[in-house]
């Protein structure tokens, strides 16, 4: 992707924006914040691509977005914030979001990138500045924790 090719940049932004925003939502639980973070990430990607300093736009975009979500996560107060005018979501979804947000940000990012966005361990490591073994370890720990949290939540709901 050359810095002066606005057409290919626009195509990339158009194709990646929805998926990036969904990943951001899974990370922060707030559609408004997810939209804002995604917009900022893609704006930086466009500006830096025009300067010719972006080697892999996917790695750049997801790495920037995950880092932005990690920083914003510290100020998060609610598990789920729906988009304006949208209906709420099912209780099971809220339980899942709640369980996700009880994980550490890095652990959550590994699960989102691996199981929602479908990146392999190598690409996920590049996005989060981890080696492959660390990605596998985070993923294993995250899935175990998530399974446990979901089990506890379902038991509480049933009880």
């Amino acid at each position: 992707m050359s810095g002066d090719n606005d057409t290919s940049l626009r195509e990339f932004v158009t194709s990646r924006l929805p998926q990036l925003r969904r990943s951001a939502f899974l990370m922060c639980g707030d559609w408004r914040m997810a939209t804002e973070l995604t917009r900022a990430t893609l704006a930086r990607l466009v500006a830096d691509s025009r300067r010719g300093v972006v080697a892999d736009p996917d790695i750049y975009a997801y790495a920037d977005l995950m880092e932005a979500c990690r920083r914003r996560n510290r100020r998060r107060e609610h598990v789920f914030v729906a988009s304006p005018g949208a209906a709420g979501i099912e209780a099971e979804s809220i339980l899942l979001l709640d369980a996700l947000h009880k994980l550490t940000p890095r652990c959550r990012a590994v699960l989102v990138l691996r199981h929602w966005d479908g990146f392999d361990a190598d690409a996920t490591g590049a996005m989060l500045d981890l080696d492959e073994d660390q990605v596998v370890a985070y993923e294993r720990a995250g899935l175990a924790a998530l399974e446990k949290l979901l089990g506890e939540s379902e038991a509480a709901m049933a009880g």
């Binding site: 626009r10 932004v13 158009t14 924006l17 929805p18 925003r21 969904r22 939502f25 899974l26 559609w31 939209t35 995604t38 917009r39 900022a40 893609l42 704006a43 930086r44 466009v46 500006a47 025009r50 729906a82 988009s83 304006p84 949208a86 209906a87 709420g88 979501i89 099912e90 099971e92 979804s93 899942l96 979001l97 699960l111 691996r114 199981h115 929602w116 899935l143 998530l146 399974e147």
Partner: protein, 257 residues
């Protein structure tokens, strides 16, 4: 749990808002980001340039204010060499350091006249300045000369070569005025002065324009002003110690020797 988790997450994303004009918003934001970065670069450049200018100014000011390098004058390490002027050559005083002119010129200008720069002449022990009025017409000259005299030298009397004039005193100097304005076409104001007990006599003479009538024949300085110049120690000190008006010396109305 990869498969189930993927499917579970799909349900979480229900209620996703429309993308709308988010793509355009991304590009607008990218343009703003680019402008901010450009401004930041320009500001940083301007700041750096300002810093360089300030440092350059400080460095230059520091270097200019530092005292000139000095050479140790230890008796065994340095031998001072004084350049010797050729015999009869004009005194080596630079034109801008004419101490005589610094005394004469304000008095001339105070009378609405001016020293003509091109007319200034100087030699060993003497200075001469041509004077002009506001219309540029010649108003005579002012001549100043210093003479080596014997300790027993006395002030001359114009009418009697063997007689001595009784001098007046001003500070550490003694002087005699020799004014002669009886001839309208040759009006002269002259004073001869000497440091009391000294062996150098200073003659100051203001002569009006010759044969130009009584008005233009008036000397550029009054008798009192000529006396003032002659008894101003700065004038005597303006001459080098080895200067003596004996070669190409202008003629004075009353000869000193």
């Amino acid at each position: 749990m990869s498969g189930p988790l993927n499917q579970l997450l799909e349900h979480v994303l229900e209620g996703e808002p429309e993308v709308g004009d988010e793509v355009d918003a991304v590009f607008r934001r990218a343009a703003r980001l680019r402008r901010r970065r450009t401004q930041a670069v320009l500001l940083a450049g301007a700041g750096t340039a300002g810093l360089i200018v300030a440092l350059g100014y400080l460095l230059t000011a520091t270097l200019l204010e530092s005292p000139p390098a000095t050479v140790s004058t230890g008796p065994t390490s340095v031998v001072a060499v004084t350049p010797v002027a050729p015999s009869g050559a004009p005194a080596p005083t630079p034109p801008t350091a004419d101490g005589v002119l610094e005394v004469v010129e304000p008095l001339v200008m105070g009378r609405g006249l001016e020293v003509v720069p091109a007319s200034q002449r100087r030699g060993d022990g003497w200075r001469a300045y041509g004077i002009a009025d506001e219309q540029g017409r010649g108003r005579g000259t002012v001549q100043v000369a210093v003479f080596d005299v014997r300790r027993k030298w006395c002030f001359p009397v114009a009418a009697e070569p063997d007689a001595c004039a009784r001098p007046d005193h001003a500070g550490g100097l003694e002087f005699v005025r020799y004014d002669d304005v009886s001839d309208a076409d040759r009006q002269v104001r002259q004073t001869v002065a000497r440091r009391i007990g000294g062996n150098r006599a200073l003659a100051v003479m203001a002569v009006g324009e010759r044969d130009a009538g009584a008005q233009r024949g008036k000397p550029a300085l009054t008798g009192a002003q000529v006396e003032q110049v002659a008894t101003d120690e700065r004038v005597l000190d303006a001459f080098e110690a080895d200067e003596n008006c004996d070669d190409g010396c202008p003629a004075f109305a009353t000869s000193v020797r």
